[in-house]
Symmetry: C2
Subunit: 334 residues, 2 copies
DNA sequence: TTGTAGGCGTTATCAA
DNA sequence: TTGATAACGCCTACAA
């Protein structure tokens, strides 16, 4: 069961622990003979340095933590992919926690990662209706972290998307196509993104003198199934909106699924748009593209700068643009 | 920067390190007064035990590693979700490595995880055309691990899918619907699943006295884009197959995408089937369903049994069934 | 060029 | 009921 240690190697080669350690760490000042002897023994016995013992002394565990909401969602797995790649480039391993939108899991896992002395954390926190004690604690402990999204009043590194503007863009696109009765499907209550998108939507409507009816807004959609529900409600509705904005493409997929099986045509009978512009979408859905993969890489890049920095640099606070990608899920009413 | 330690707590409370440690670990035999003093101090200073130091003594790091090929693929992120959930139930944290089908990354990351003394590993290894030294090394070191898929000649815990039979099922389904010219899109060369599915396909064809033409098999599709390529080739083809079996649903999506934009109708002009039965699929694709989420949970369950077991138990070797889900992407030629 | 000693934060053992 | 000490595996000084 036991992994071989430096002490074992020392015993085997008849050298001192420090000598073995020195050779293994490529320090200079050892004879070729000792060097060879150590390396050979290490190789032969499959020695893998105990990083965790090493981490005790050396300040770095070469590990970062990543906390997201749902690994199953393309939005988050693209971010994960970006983070992972940059981490690998730095020789780092990443702890993954998919909180499933459960705040307690998020807190527990962050604490566990702190316990495991990660060198830094990337967190896509639940941003609404929860407390941020675990995040503040990170700052207090001076543990490097960077956030996806910002927390009002917390000065730290973060990357966020301009959800408000993205939402204004789609909404205006619909309005420009003559839509007046526009519905909206919000995401999780704990999602800042959802709040901003909804706000952008309302503001854009208002700015065009359009009003929205309460029946046309659907709340708290999370999974594809919720989208199907919304679709079914829509189908059963007498006074249907002519267009619907979905919190994300996954929800939109659900709506499409429901509509297709009910014979409701998109965009003929209903115009539909979403957010994320996910790849796994064969339907020509007009969507707001979000640079998730790039964001993942950027989050990691910023985190590593913070981890390796000598003097405390300015906090990096980046807002990434969202871009409307027009396809053919919106009907022109003109 | 520094996290508070037990020694700090000892100094603060005026107690001995061992006393503090004892209280913190809920050992019996301490006065209520000491107990309270320690707990209060710990709380006040936000003490988080250094798991990595703890791991030095206690044999367990409460960490497992998970190595998959592509976190972006629904197949793997469902598995990841299952693993994650079971790990969390046990209070474990999981290291994630998405190798990107790169064998060197897989080997490097496994080694890194071993270095970090994970209590166990779940690996979905590249299974064809590569060496398994890193896996054998695990066994030699008696580090618990469970595999997704089996390695011939290696006795270990594993969970695998019956890809061969799944493939036979779809192929026969197509044949039963009167298809004779059936094409096939293989996955990565390093994928055992791909090999088995292809073999199942060929055997089923053979068993029905059907032959396959080389032009109708497309190799090494990996991403959605590759599916699009295949679709485009198909469109340009004179002697097109009447049906196409794709290595997975993502590839099938690509084919659908290509066909839709070229005006080729499915199933009217081409019957199409895939594997995985992914959720994010609005097209009514007939597909071979694979219990990925359950497999993830099972993999983790088996791993934890192995980690916590007292005596060495039998190796668990499970083959999970694949099940054909018929929708409407196959046209009946009768 | 190599060896000895001490420390990192924790737990376990044994003594007080 | 509490405290001192060693040990886990490694690294860094410093001494030989």
């Amino acid at each position: 069961m036991m992994n071989i240690t430096i002490a074992d190697l020392a015993r085997i080669t008849g050298l001192a622990k420090s000598t073995v350690s020195g050779v293994l760490n490529n320090k200079s000042g050892f004879s070729e003979k000792t060097r060879a002897k150590v390396l050979e023994a290490a190789e032969k016995h499959g020695y893998v340095p105990n990083e965790i013992a090493r981490g005790l002394t050396s300040k770095f565990t070469k590990t970062i933590g990543l906390v997201i909401k749902d690994i199953t969602n393309p939005f988050y797995n693209r971010i994960t992919k970006g983070v992972q790649e940059v981490a690998n480039e730095h020789g780092y391993t990443v702890f993954l926690c998919s909180s499933g939108e459960n705040h307690m899991v998020e807190v527990t896992q962050v604490t566990a990662m702190v316990g495991k002395r990660v060198d830094g954390l990337i967190i896509a926190p639940l941003l609404e209706g929860v407390d941020f004690d675990h995040i503040y604690e990170l700052k207090r402990k001076k543990i490097p972290f960077t956030l996806l999204g910002s927390i009002p009043g917390l000065t730290c590194d973060y990357v966020q998307f301009d959800d408000y503007n993205g939402s204004i863009q789609v909404t205006n696109h619909l309005i420009a196509n003559g839509h007046k009765k526009i519905g909206f499907v919000t995401g999780q209550r704990t999602s800042r993104a959802s709040k901003l998108r909804f706000q952008g939507f309302k503001d854009a409507m208002m700015a065009s003198g359009l009003s929205l009816s309460e029946e046309h807004v659907f709340h708290e959609a999370k999974h594809l199934e919720d989208g199907v529900d919304v679709g079914n409600q829509l189908i059963a509705m007498k006074d249907r909106p002519t267009a619907l904005i979905c919190f994300d493409d996954v929800i939109a997929m659900g709506v499409i699924k429901a509509c297709e099986s009910a014979g409701l045509k998109i965009p003929e009978d209903l115009s539909l748009v979403g957010f994320d512009d996910i790849e796994l979408m064969i339907f020509p859905l007009t969507s707001v593209s979000i640079p998730t993969y790039d964001a993942g890489k950027l989050l990691a890049k910023i985190l590593f700068e913070r981890i390796f920095e000598e003097e405390v640099a300015e906090y990096r606070q980046v807002t990434l643009d969202e871009k409307l990608v027009v396809r053919s899920s919106v009907k022109s009413l003109h």
